[in-house]
């Protein structure tokens, strides 16, 4: 099943009106990812070599462990599959945000210390240069 363009347009309108920053819809054979910024809805890039790690839930986005002063993975560093590259703080709990593949952490997309929601883009990963 693929979504007809009319549905994508309608979903975009809902997203623009909702105040949410991102929407992700998965179904058999379809994967829709939209981003909203001040009423403008744009499709997020299709998963390619460049990968965006999104938030697994609602919480405070941290790039540094609360006890430490250096980031878990600084921008430009090489990260391994499964490595904890950021944290999501939910009150007393800390959830890991892990690298989905060996890659280079190219950019931190969300503001560290801010509350993020499910699907908020957090980090951008690039393939490790050949």
């Amino acid at each position: 099943m693929t979504l007809p363009p009319v549905d994508i347009a309608r979903i975009s309108e809902w997203l623009a009106a909702s105040g949410l920053t991102a929407l992700e819809l998965r179904g058999p054979g379809c994967h829709l990812r939209l981003r909203q910024d001040r009423g403008t809805v744009t499709p997020m890039e299709a998963p390619s070599a460049r990968q965006v790690v999104t938030s697994p839930g609602i919480g405070r986005f941290l790039t540094t462990h609360p006890l430490h002063s250096t980031p878990l993975a600084p921008e430009g560093s090489v990260v391994a599959l499964g490595q904890i590259i950021a944290l999501l703080q939910i009150d007393a709990l800390l959830m890991p945000v892990t690298a989905p593949a060996g890659s280079v952490l190219a950019a931190v997309l969300a503001e560290p210390g801010e509350i993020v929601g499910y699907g908020t883009p957090l980090l951008e990963l690039h393939p490790i240069a050949e």
Partner: protein, 327 residues
């Protein structure tokens, strides 16, 4: 099952303490940082008071003989599972054949000196007089009534499993307590408080106290201004509990800690509230802190705040486990 690889004499099995046996002359023992022990247990879905290993001499290493979920809390010792570095206050899976290594406590936003290794289901040692804590003086409880040695094998109450690791924010960051730039410990006046000079009272509350190297699980000897009674005090030996601040003849106070004897004869100037004993239990030797006068109501509220923090962590950790099981 894990095997102790280090030959350090001072790691012991502890839980939240053997309360209720003081009338038989049996001290409480238990974790010097009960919040860290309870938090590690809650990350694993254990009861808050399950037994864990308290580690206070580093480096420390264990070999894993059977898969088991574990949590490490307390002092950040830059721990590694084989080559993989572990975050402090974190849980995860230990796999058979792996080696867990803890280094010296590192300088962090919260200086601490004791680490806790919790296993799923708790460390499986028999309960004695209502507790699994090691009673060193009586040589019972914990693992064979003694500190752990190289080659000791400890079993997890619930081996196996497969968990995705997550962690806790150390309570020292959630519940900071400072006074004039130093860590603070809240204290109630004790029976002989009024028998000290006004200058001693002013010094007790106003000056910083340093933890001397003559400090361990039995008690902390402090260094600071001399505390002087108005007239010499002679007392018969009487019951004491962890947290009691005694003043021997030299005028330098001693704080009774978890392995304290159940009785003593020195005069008591104050008692550290139960809710703050973990703060002192983690304070490194050589560090300085201040005593902060408090009252009964605040002491109870502080205990409630600790309980609420643990309850919140336990609830979130359970939700997390349920979510992971459903996914």
């Amino acid at each position: 099952m894990i095997e102790i690889l280090s030959d350090t004499a001072l790691a012991t099995v502890q839980d939240l303490g053997r309360t209720g046996a003081l009338n038989w002359g049996v001290g409480t023992s238990g974790a010097m940082d009960p919040l860290a022990l309870a938090a590690g247990n809650l990350l694993l879905g254990n009861a808050a008071g399950d037994a864990a290993i308290e580690i206070q001499v580093f480096p420390f290493a264990v070999r894993v003989h059977a898969d088991c979920a574990f949590a490490l809390t307390g002092a950040d010792c830059a721990a590694r599972m084989d080559e993989q570095t572990l975050l402090p206050w974190w849980s995860g899976m230990a796999r058979a054949g792996q080696t867990l290594r803890l280094g010296l406590p590192v300088a962090t936003a919260w200086p601490a000196s004791r680490a806790y290794l919790c296993l799923a289901g708790g460390i499986d040692v028999p309960e004695m007089l209502g507790s699994r804590s090691t009673q060193l003086r009586g040589a019972f409880g914990g693992y064979a009534g003694r500190a752990l040695r190289q080659g000791d094998l400890l079993r997890a109450g619930r081996p196996g499993g497969d968990v995705n690791g997550f962690g806790a924010v150390p309570p020292a960051l959630a519940m900071p307590l400072q006074q004039d730039g130093l860590p603070a410990i809240r204290v109630l006046r004790a029976a002989e408080y009024d028998r000290y000079t006004p200058a001693s009272h002013a010094a007790f509350w106003g000056e910083a106290w340093r933890i001397t190297p003559q400090s361990d699980r039995y008690g902390y000897r402090l260094a600071g201004p001399s505390l002087t009674p108005i007239a010499p005090i002679e007392l018969r030996s009487h019951g004491i509990v962890p947290g009691v601040i005694q003043v021997p003849h030299g005028g330098q106070p001693i704080v009774q800690m978890r392995d304290a004897q159940p009785s003593g004869g020195y005069p008591k100037i104050g008692t550290i509230i139960e809710a703050d004993l973990w703060r002192l239990g983690q304070a490194p030797i050589g560090s300085r802190f201040r005593f902060l006068e408090t009252d009964w109501a605040t002491a109870l509220a502080a205990r409630d705040a600790n309980e609420a923090w643990l309850a919140g962590l336990g609830r979130l950790a359970n939700l997390q486990r349920l979510g992971a099981a459903a996914a």
